[in-house]
Symmetry: C2
Subunit: 406 residues, 2 copies
Amino acid sequence: MNTKIDKVENGTVTTPDGFQAGAIYAGINKKGKTGLDMGILFSTAPCNTAGVFTKNRIKAAPVILSQERLKLGKAAAVVANSGCANACVGKQGMADAKEISRLAAENLGIAADDVLVASTGVIGQPLPMELVRPSIPLIKVSKEGGHNFARAIMTTDKVEKEIAVRVKAGRNTFYIGGAAKGAGMIHPDMATMLCFLTTDAEVDLEFLRESLRKAADVSFNMISVDGDTSTNDTVLLMANGQSENDPITPGDIQYAKVFQEALNQVCIYLAKAVARDGEGATKLIEVTVSGAATEAEAKQAARTVVSSSLVKTAIYGNDPNWGRVIAAIGRSGIAVEENKVTIYLGNICVFKSGQPQNFNLEKAGAALNKANVPIDIKLNMGDGEATAWGSDLTEEYIKINAEYTT
Amino acid sequence: MNTKIDKVENGTVTTPDGFQAGAIYAGINKKGKTGLDMGILFSTAPCNTAGVFTKNRIKAAPVILSQERLKLGKAAAVVANSGCANACVGKQGMADAKEISRLAAENLGIAADDVLVASTGVIGQPLPMELVRPSIPLIKVSKEGGHNFARAIMTTDKVEKEIAVRVKAGRNTFYIGGAAKGAGMIHPDMATMLCFLTTDAEVDLEFLRESLRKAADVSFNMISVDGDTSTNDTVLLMANGQSENDPITPGDIQYAKVFQEALNQVCIYLAKAVARDGEGATKLIEVTVSGAATEAEAKQAARTVVSSSLVKTAIYGNDPNWGRVIAAIGRSGIAVEENKVTIYLGNICVFKSGQPQNFNLEKAGAALNKANVPIDIKLNMGDGEATAWGSDLTEEYIKINAEYTT
C-alpha cells in the first residue's frame, strides 16, 4: 500500500471533515492574553472517542466526568476552558462540570452524555458559573473555529499549538488534527496538558484506544517542564468516520500502521510544541537514550535526564556540564555501566566509553546556544531506545510561578 | 535511666574525645570562599565505622573505595576535598583516591586501609594531583581543627554546618559531633552531601550501622534541594570508644535508645542546615504529612511535596497556592482521598476535609514570608507520619547552576 503523510498548511482541529469549533471570552481567565477562555469542539457525526487522563490520584471533576462518559467510547463534543482547573473544590466541581456539559449540549442540540469536559488553570477555586452560564449558549461553532478553540485553552502558553496532517493510504485519504495547551505542571504520565485530537477516519474503537495509548507513550508521556503532574491532564481523540474511507481496524496491518504513524507524528509535534513553550523556556532539549537494556529503561533514563533541574539549568547557561547528565542517568535506576557510557551534548562527544573527552569549551558552549539542543546518550547495554523532550529552566520560570495566583 | 541531650556551644566534629582534624588550601576549589579545600579527620584510636552512600548507580571513585574499606567496619581517618568530585574520570579516579589515602596514612602514621576518602565538586574532571600530592603531608591535625575541616568541604555552601551534643545516660557521658556540606544536587536517598559524624562512645558495630541507617532515614534522606541525587554522597559515623563508658549495644535498650535519639538530633540538625542553605534558598520549608496509611507513604508524600518545583516557587513568592500541594500529594502515588485531606500552609488552614477554606490572602502571604515555612498535611487514612525539609526555588538557584563549570 502506498502511504504518504503530509502536514496541512494552517491545519487545526477542524481540518478533518465534520468537525467544527468555536470560542468565547467568558471572563474566567483574567490573565488570558488571547481574549478567549472557553471553547467547544463539535463533530456533526457521533465519534468513536478514546481518552488518556492524568495518573494523579487527585483528579479534577471534568476528568472524572469525562472518564465516566468515555466508558462506551462515544462522544460528539468537548467543552474546554482555561483560567480555572475546577479541581479540589468539593462537590460543587462535579455539579458545575455537569451543568457545563448540559448547557453545551443544549447549544449543539445533542445529549449531555455525548459532551466531554476539560478545564485548566488554578486548582482549588470554583468555576465562576455566573460568567460561564450566560457564555456557553453564545458560542458559535463553525469549520473556521479551530484556531480560536486552540487559543481559548491557553494559560501561560505563549503560542497556540495546533496541527493537522493529510494521510494517503492506498485509495483512502483522511485527516488527523490536534490542538494542545501546556506551559507548566508538565511531566511524564501526562502534563498539565489538554490535547484534543480529531480525525475523519473511521476507526475501530478498541484500535482507537490502543493507538492513542501508544501515541501518548512516545509523545505526551515523554515531555517534562517541571516534574509536576497535574490534576487535569486530558488527551482526547475523536474519530467521526466522515472521510467515508475503509474503516481502520487492527486486522488491516498496513492501513492501521500508517494511522498509528500519522497519529504519533501529530502527538509528537504537539508534545514538542508544549515542551518548547514550557514556562520561561528558551530552548527545547531533546534527550535520546539508545543501547539501554530495554525500551522501558531507555524511557526511564531519557525522562530522568530531561527532568533534571541541574541539566536544565546547565543547558540554559550554555554550560557543557555533562557530569550532571551522567549523574541523572545513574540515579534513574536503570542498568548502567560507567565504562560503556558515551554522551554527546549538542552533537559534541564529551564522554566516550567511560572516559571524559577533550573538547573545546567555547565550541561546546556555542553548540548549546541554540533553540534545539540534542543530548545523545549511548549506554551499550542492549537495544532499548527512547527520546524525551523538555525545556531549560530559567529565572523566568521562577518569576512566572512565584506569582501565579496572587 | 536518667538521660539528657545538650547541644555543645561551638561544637564540631572534634568535640568527642580522641578526634583531631586539620585542613589546607591545595588549590582544587578555585571558587572556594573559605580558603580551604582539603581536610583530614583523624581518631587517635581505631573506630568502629558505619557509612551510608549514594544510591546513584554511577558512583565516584572515593565512594567505591570507602565502601570497600568499610566492609569490616573499621577506620581511623577520612580525607575529604571540595572542588572536584573525582567521579566519571575513568581508571584514574580510583588510582588517585588510593594515592590520597596512602599520603594521608603516611602523614598520620597509620595504614592506608584505615583511611576513607570523600570528594565533592565538579563531576568528570580528574583531581589535580600535582596540587594534591604536596598538600596532604602539610595538613596538621589537632583538637582545634574541627571548624577548619567543616570549612574545607564547603562548595557553594554559604555557611559551615557543624554541631556537637553531650549525652548523659545514667553514669555515662559521651559526645556526638558532626560536620556536613550540601548546597546543590540535594535529594532524598542521599544528597550531594558529605557528612562526617564522630562519637567517643564505644558502640557495637552492627548497632552502629543500624543506628546510622535509621538516623539517615529521618534526616538526610528526607531533604531535597533540587531532585538531583549525586554520585558522591557519603555519610560516615566513626565511634572510637574513648569516653570509656559502658559499650552501647542493642541489648541495653534504654542506653541504645538515647544514643539513637542523640544521633537523630545531630543528623536532623545537619540535614535541616543543608536544606536551609540550598543553592539560592531564602527559606527552609518543613513538610509534615500525618495520617498516611503507612509511615512509608507519609515519607513518600512529604518528599514529593518538598521536591515540587511549583510548591517551592510558590513558597518563594509568598503565594498560598495550596492547589500545588494537593496536586503533588496526588501524584506521589500514595493512597489519598480528596475529601479527607486537610492542609495548613504556614499554620493557616487553607483546605479542610476536601473543601477550600476562606482565608485572608494578605495574612496567608505574610505567614509564608518567613525564614521557616511549615506545610502540614493531614490525610486521615491511618497513622503514618513523616517530615521532610527543603528549600524554596529562586532565580538565584538558576544563576548559580547556569554557570557552574564554565
